[in-house]
Symmetry: C2
């Protein structure tokens, strides 16, 4: 029996704000591109449309990545973590993932951990 | 001039609970292992000890991965994202990363997105 989209969404442990963290990874190179947030409706759209939709916390609205920029994300797979509060989204990223123009949102800022003696 | 650990921590945009999301990735295979959370002190320890420390939201205490299980995480690199509220931690993972015994916390639960016609 195939699990319904509603049943999939019901398995997710959304936080107090109704959101779940979505880690987005390029499917072939495995580069981590960005971290976004989804509410139940953004998750439903992502599960069913083949394109990644987020809930924008700063703009308080749905944001289907690429609709403005053209830098859209094709969904290749989605996995839920062991406690249900994080989703790993495997995508084909078209163009840069970051609004700053870099490929990934983690490209610009190295925290350079240093083990102290 | 080398940036101090305090300066690095000051660049992070912690959320209302004082936490930042930490995506943990195996440095060579680029597998995404888990998503954890750090407060400023957990971040300081991770930046300086060469081992990953989290803030456990469920247990409300610091948790240096591997101290109990032996499945520790050696820090290889850390990067901050473009809006400062997510960190990508590159690690050498010893043993399974997930408390369920799987390599990664995303191994068990496939959400199987399906594009609707």
């Amino acid at each position: 029996m195939t699990e319904s989209v509603d049943d999939k969404i019901a398995r997710v442990a959304f936080n107090a704000d109704g959101l779940v963290a979505a880690i987005v990874q390029q499917w072939d190179t495995r580069e981590v591109l960005m971290l976004g947030w989804m509410d139940a409706e953004a998750l439903r759209r992502t599960l069913t449309q083949g394109r990644v939709t987020y809930w924008s916390r700063s703009r308080q609205k749905y944001w289907r990545k690429g609709d403005t920029s053209g830098h859209y994300q094709e969904v290749r797979g989605m996995r839920l973590d062991c406690d249900g509060d994080a989703i790993l989204v495997s995508v084909e990223q078209h163009g840069p993932a970051c609004h700053t123009g870099t490929r990934a949102c983690f490209d610009a800022d190295d925290l350079s951990p240093v083990v102290e003696g």
